[in-house]
Symmetry: C2
Subunit: 336 residues, 2 copies
């Protein structure tokens, strides 16, 4: 079956319609991702046949909104966040390989701007959306309702289980805890931004749960920090850790940028990193090896995201339920 799917046969909409006992236009709608107008049983049957025959819709008829634009819009919260830039770069390359052109839109993590870009892109006939760290918003809810082709990245859809590419953030937090336990940490803390996204919450909770489960009597302190970005939030949260004597012996920073913020706060207080306090980040920023050799980090394989995002997008556009793709993170130790 898998081999058949990989080598699509010369099957038409009409063949699938005949097999399913439904109209050609019903198959067309389902193949193009519009799942609302047919019954769940019909959708399920048609999707199964599409998968079985490896049918892929005629590109010219592919877009719901007229013609083939070959444009895909990526909406991301902050282009100048290195993690976002890494996801954008790998997705751009993968889309180009697949014959698409990526339009990149910076939502600044704001629902209003996300809505503005969703509207603008829709009116420009994009064939699909990649939403990195999406926030809940009116237009997004409408797009999900229309079954527009969307792949969510980093943060899951706020409107239920749709296509998602990311890592197991809870597990990443747990792995960070295992590392700090192996380093001998006994009085750890976790810092995070005041506005807690689902991604960050999972990392922090996974860390705390694992650390406390493996270390009887230990209690992980939590500190949140304000700021327009993770650098500021890390600095602000670390500034709340107290005087030099009160500092924890290890800190989970749920992003490397937060660890950079913590580093500055530590320097200002005479807390030596990593001698007095061992931080662990999550991201695996490429700059760590160059100018932050004090930082171990759970590395997220952002450069692998692009190819998986494009796979999911292709699946979603043919009406398949692609579900979640969780990529492997791995611990990258600081140079010893």
């Amino acid at each position: 079956m898998n081999d058949r799917r990989r080598e699509p046969q010369n099957v038409s909409l009409a063949d699938i319609a005949a097999k399913a006992g439904v109209s050609v236009s019903t198959v067309s709608r389902i193949a193009n991702g519009a799942l609302r107008r047919a019954s769940p049983a019909t959708v399920e049957k048609v999707q199964r046949l599409i998968a079985e025959f490896g049918y892929s819709p005629n590109p010219v008829g592919r877009s719901l909104r007229g013609g083939e634009s070959r444009l895909i819009a990526m909406l991301a919260p902050n282009l100048d966040n290195p993690a976002m830039a890494a996801i954008a770069a790998s997705t751009e390359a993968a889309l180009r390989d697949a014959g698409y052109v990526m339009i990149l839109c910076d939502t600044h993590d704001e629902p209003d701007l996300q809505d503005e870009y969703l509207r603008a892109m829709r009116s420009r006939f994009v064939e699909g959306f990649v939403l990195v760290s999406a926030v809940a918003s009116r237009e997004l809810e409408a797009a999900v309702g229309r079954a527009d082709p969307i792949v969510f990245v980093n943060r899951r859809s706020p409107y239920g289980g749709l296509a998602f590419v990311g890592i197991d953030n809870r597990q990443a937090g747990a792995d960070a805890a295992d590392h700090l336990i192996a380093c001998g940490a006994r009085r750890p803390a976790a810092v995070h931004p005041e506005d807690l996204s689902l991604t960050i919450r999972d990392r922090v909770e996974g860390f705390i749960e694992r650390f406390e489960a493996r270390t009887p009597g230990a209690r992980v302190r939590r500190f949140s920090g304000a700021g327009k970005n993770h650098l500021d939030a890390g600095y602000s949260a670390a500034s709340a850790l107290g005087g030099k004597e009160d500092w924890p012996d290890a800190v989970l920073c749920p992003s490397d940028l937060m660890a950079y913020g913590l580093y500055k706060a530590a320097s200002e207080r005479g807390v030596r990193i990593p001698d007095d306090c061992i931080p662990i980040g999550i991201d695996g920023n490429a700059l760590n090896a160059w100018i932050a050799p004090w930082l171990s980090s759970v590395s997220v394989p952002y450069s692998d995201f692009g190819a998986r995002i494009v796979d999911c997008l292709k699946g979603v556009k043919t009406g398949l339920d692609v579900g979640e793709v969780l990529l492997e993170h791995r611990l990258v130790l600081k140079p010893s």
Copy 2:
């Protein structure tokens, strides 16, 4: 006159054609940036009248290639270079304010990919191009020949004096020399990538010229480094500086990423930065204040680029000769 230009009057193509004594279609072509089919004298006369009356072409007729797409393509060499990300972020915001949508394309600094994107974007009816650190390529030469609306950023056009937004790179190098002289440097070096762009060459030459002019008998050593990016090139060039005793007492790094590369090479040799060797970068990367507190840098105002790029693009699209816009750089000292 300036006030008139800022408050456009209700002037038509026909008014300008009558004043200039040419046909309406000639004015239309010139207003839309197609300057090849009229004589230089006519172009000059019509452009002067357009500027004087503040005429701006009807948006619907604006694109040479049919219809109004409101799409602008930015081609940049590397999205994961923080300087590129900063330029992209500020340009995206300025274009959005002006009612445009930016398509971002990563050329990876390769002529073939630059050509592929120029073709692809042209076929998608973009209304203008922003070329960041462009390289010479066949399609670019053709686009310049057609007088397509293009603004060059960071690196000037390889095909003569067109619209450009950047800094005075020679002066930035000279200012870096003044700083190191003030720090007491006597045996300086300059590092740079093996492939020397015009931007980097100007910075390095401006540095050497100023240092040697102000310090009788001094000779600035030059070291080039290989690598796919400035981190690697900085590391590789610094590795050629010799043993700890041979290291210079100060180094010009023509980008902050090169300084990060140098920092790692110095650490591996026991050269203390900045005690044994004072580096100075050019960029003003926002991360310096957080995790590279040893680095002073000539800061390039990337966040101001966007608004100026959009101004130039508007000018170019109305056929104006906007020339060069040089923004002010400034020295940002490391925390003392």
